[in-house]
């Protein structure tokens, strides 16, 4: 029986070993790994974000690359699984003439697993809008970049938004009741310390209600919400938990326009399944939705018009997830461009050089205009000690069909968030025996 399939198995093994071996590439190429997920329960997010990311890279290539350096990439399926994510990282880190430029794991779990490895191998780990919040302290985490905004920043911006909706500033929060309905996991618990410390400062009453994973049954939690009768609900959900929460809120008659959600609860994929129950609900966002931006139009013109492109379902172009991937692409390519400006235009950059590029990344309004991304994302300025950069979010409202932007960029309370980040990072440094860098000595 067994001798019949000895040969195919051997052929498969052979192909696998050949494919894993490093191979020669032309010198003016820059390799970017696409370690994402296209299958499994989170495929909607993974395929959308990586679709936008890859399309943006292809658009840059179609326009001649970065100063003539062509960007190459290779997809690797992580299945949102830590072990597979590590395997993909190990597979991709040496590819291309200079190795992996930077890795965006799009999974908090995988990001954690890669912190030590990236630091050891000199590969920047970039987690935009997820990952380890205190890694924003670049003195302790030189190789980790939780760029644009963190969960803690977002929580403070949410409070500002609620104050705004109450007809003023954060002083209006006094005496209000706010309920946090969160995914019972490390991710969901993330905002609690910030919301608690802010409750003392602004004088609102905070209740927290946990929803067990995956969250497709929330009747008990929303009955609790009805008893508390809060003025606002902050929803910190993930996947199927989001539409379920909206439907449960509709059932107890809690107004949806008093619910404000985290950015991972604010995609089309979260709102559409809830149907009418989602109408009016707010979500934070660090990128907007819509295909009516020059950068997206450019992708359609240079990639899709030539019969290429990642998205099979064209209607998803311009969705929240897709546009988030475009933001990833902008950050990655601008970091490489910044590195090239210092270390030589038209050359492939190494991990060390790209890390320098990330730390000196400065995407201002002028640059955003050149990229065709004005209002698409916020300006971003990173430094050696600050690996977050932006910190602001916008709020979107679901009108039953699409997300509409309802506010301008609302900045985070940095005086609150930054000391917490530094304290937490210092604790990590002590545990791990890391001596923080002195940023005044960095070039």
């Amino acid at each position: 029986m067994f001798r019949h399939f000895g040969r195919p198995v051997a052929a498969l093994l052979g192909a696998a070993i050949l494919a894993a071996a490093p191979w020669a590439r032309a010198q003016s190429e820059q390799f970017i790994p696409m370690n994402g997920y296209w299958v499994g329960p989170y495929a909607a997010g993974g395929s959308g974000v990586f679709g936008g990311y890859i399309d943006y890279i292809n658009m840059v290539n179609a326009k001649g690359g970065i100063n003539g350096v062509k960007l190459t990439y290779e997809k690797c399926e992580t299945e949102y699984n830590n072990a597979r994510g590590v395997e993909c990282y190990e597979r991709s880190k040496k590819k291309g003439p200079t190795g992996a430029s930077l890795v965006m794991p799009l999974s908090t779990g995988i990001t954690y697993s890669l912190i030590d490895k990236g630091t050891e191998d000199h590969v920047p780990i970039v987690s935009i809008g997820y990952g380890r919040t205190d890694a924003a302290d670049g003195r302790v985490f030189p190789w980790v970049f939780p760029l644009i905004t963190t969960y803690w920043s977002q929580a403070t911006a949410m409070l500002k938004f609620i104050g705004m909706k109450e007809g003023g500033g954060t002083e209006k929060l006094k005496g209000k009741k706010i309920v946090l309905v969160y995914h019972d996991s490390a991710y969901g618990k993330e905002p609690i310390p910030v919301l608690e410390s802010q409750a003392k400062r602004f004088g609102y009453e905070l209740h927290t209600i946990a929803v067990a994973h995956p969250g497709n049954e929330q009747q008990a939690q929303w009955l609790q919400v009805r008893q508390i009768r809060p003025d606002w609900v902050i929803l910190w959900g993930w996947g199927v938990m989001n539409p379920t929460a909206l439907k449960a809120a509709a059932r107890i008659g809690f107004p949806r326009n008093k619910i404000v959600a985290v950015w991972w609860s604010g995609a089309e994929e979260d709102a559409i399944p809830a149907g009418d129950a989602a109408k009016g609900y707010y979500a934070a966002a660090f990128n907007v939705s819509g295909s009516n931006y020059p950068v997206v139009k450019e992708i359609e013109k240079t990639v899709y018009a030539k019969g290429k492109g990642e998205m099979e379902d064209r209607s998803r172009i311009g969705s929240i997830y897709y546009n988030r991937g475009v933001v990833f692409g902008i950050v990655a390519t601008e970091a490489i461009r910044t590195a090239q400006a210092k270390y030589g235009k038209g050359k492939p950059m190494t991990g060390d050089q790209i890390r320098w590029g990330l730390e000196h990344l400065n995407i201002d309004e002028k640059r955003l205009k050149e990229l065709g991304a004005t209002n698409f994302m916020q300006p971003l300025k990173v430094s050696c000690s600050d690996h977050e950069g932006g910190g602001a979010v916008r709020f979107l409202q679901w009108d039953g069909k699409k997300w509409n932007t309802v506010t301008d960029w609302i900045a985070a309370d940095r005086d609150v968030v930054r000391p917490m980040i530094e304290e937490s990072a210092a604790k990590y440094a002590k545990e791990k025996g890391i001596t923080p860098r002195d940023c005044s000595k960095e070039g």
């Binding site: 067994f2 498969l12 192909a15 696998a16 494919a19 399926e77 597979r84 618990k189 099979e312």
Partner: protein
């Protein structure tokens, strides 16, 4: 022709009862261990070979996780395969091991890391003992449901109580560096050797355990618990020991998972999904077999990676642009088909296939 035991006479009980009674097996095992301990590390520093194969990738991405999952599968196999107690709490016991080792290193001054691994195993064993108590009253699928409680409770407790993760806001632990007697295990090859040594010792211990009195008692309980009780096997001791020893193995595997593999782990990494994966490993590899644990881990951990590498390699070589996600989905379908195929060919697992092959080898090249 080569695999024949003719002429190997056993004249003592010890010779008859030894771990590998056939001389060829002993030689093959010695060669395998020599290859794993000496050959692979030597090859990875030989300049000629090192350039062709990216050893660090194979160590970090494939071999170390394979060994760690093998150890966890071995732990579950002791409980489910030998003692017949179905468990869905493997991930939880691994989590206990990982968090225990982290806290021991953090809170106990001058803690030697190997002792921390052993103590982490002991703590996992204690937790396993507690969650093994229902096994005295219930069995089969009902017990599986009871062990589910362990799975959910442990992950919940590790997330809920900040003490376990030293009040990290996200519940993540950062494993300390592995230093044994002043020697740092900081490169992939060193970590590989450390994991390999621990797994080899524990696998031999498991094989030894299976042929001892307690191993025989477990198998008696598994095959028919009433009969086992009638012939005087203490049911409580046998079942609880199975839970304790199994959890010890899982605990050490969990500690290695955190310290030698991932580095930073969150409690959610040890969710039900992980428990299921390890259960599938022993079902596919072979229930009640040490070799089966390794074969099953190879099947579940390594095969999808090889399929993925082959698929992307093929995609590139053929130069065709397939729609996004198609390759991932096809790999998943192929993997599922292979599981069905192997289970259809041999429901008793890959270890049984190997046994059949051995029987045939004894006769080869003559059919009778």
């Amino acid at each position: 022709m080569f695999y024949r035991e003719a002429g190997q006479f056993k004249s003592t009980y010890a010779a008859d009862q030894q771990l590998f009674p056939i001389r060829q097996d002993r030689i093959a095992m010695a060669l395998l261990l020599a290859l794993a301990f000496v050959g692979v590390p030597l090859a990875s520093i030989t300049p000629g070979i090192e350039g062709v194969i990216d050893f660090n990738y194979w160590y970090n991405g494939v071999i170390i996780p394979f060994l760690i999952f093998s150890l966890a599968a071995l732990g579950l196999n002791i409980l489910t395969g030998y003692a017949g107690q179905l468990s869905l709490g493997t991930g939880a016991f691994m989590a206990v091991g990982a968090f225990a080792a982290y806290n021991l290193m953090l809170r106990v001054p001058r803690m030697p890391i190997l002792a921390a691994f052993v103590l982490a195993g002991v703590i996992a064993a204690a937790v396993g003992l507690v969650f093994g108590l229902p096994s005295l009253r219930i069995k089969g699928f009902y017990l599986a449901v009871a062990t589910l409680a362990a799975q959910f409770f442990v992950v919940w407790a590790l997330t809920k109580f900040g003490w376990f993760s030293n009040d990290s806001s996200s519940g993540v632990i950062a494993a300390q560096k592995i230093v044994i007697a002043g020697y740092a295990f900081d490169t992939p090859v060193k970590r590989y050797l450390l994991v390999l040594a621990i797994v080899a010792v524990m696998a031999l211990a498991a094989k030894n355990l299976a042929r001892s009195a307690i191993g025989r008692a477990w198998m008696a309980v598994r095959d028919m618990d009433v009969a086992a009780e009638v012939i005087g096997i203490p049911m409580m001791k046998a079942k609880l020991l199975a839970f304790a020893i199994s959890s010890f193995y899982c605990g050490v595997a969990g500690a290695l998972f955190a310290f030698a593999y991932l580095g930073n782990v969150e409690p959610q990494a040890f969710d039900l999904d992980l428990s299921f994966r390890i259960l599938f490993m022993i079902i596919i590899g072979g229930v009640g077999s040490v070799l089966g644990s390794f074969l099953g881990a190879a099947f579940i951990v390594v095969l999808p990676i090889l399929l993925d590498i082959a698929a992307t390699g093929f995609e590139r070589a053929a130069g065709i642009a397939v729609p996004a996600g198609l390759v991932s989905n096809l790999t998943l379908i192929l993997f599922g088909a292979l599981i069905v195929f192997f289970l259809a060919v041999e429901p008793l697992g890959l270890a049984r296939l190997w046994q059949v092959a051995k029987e045939k080898l004894r006769l080869w090249p003559f059919p009778h």
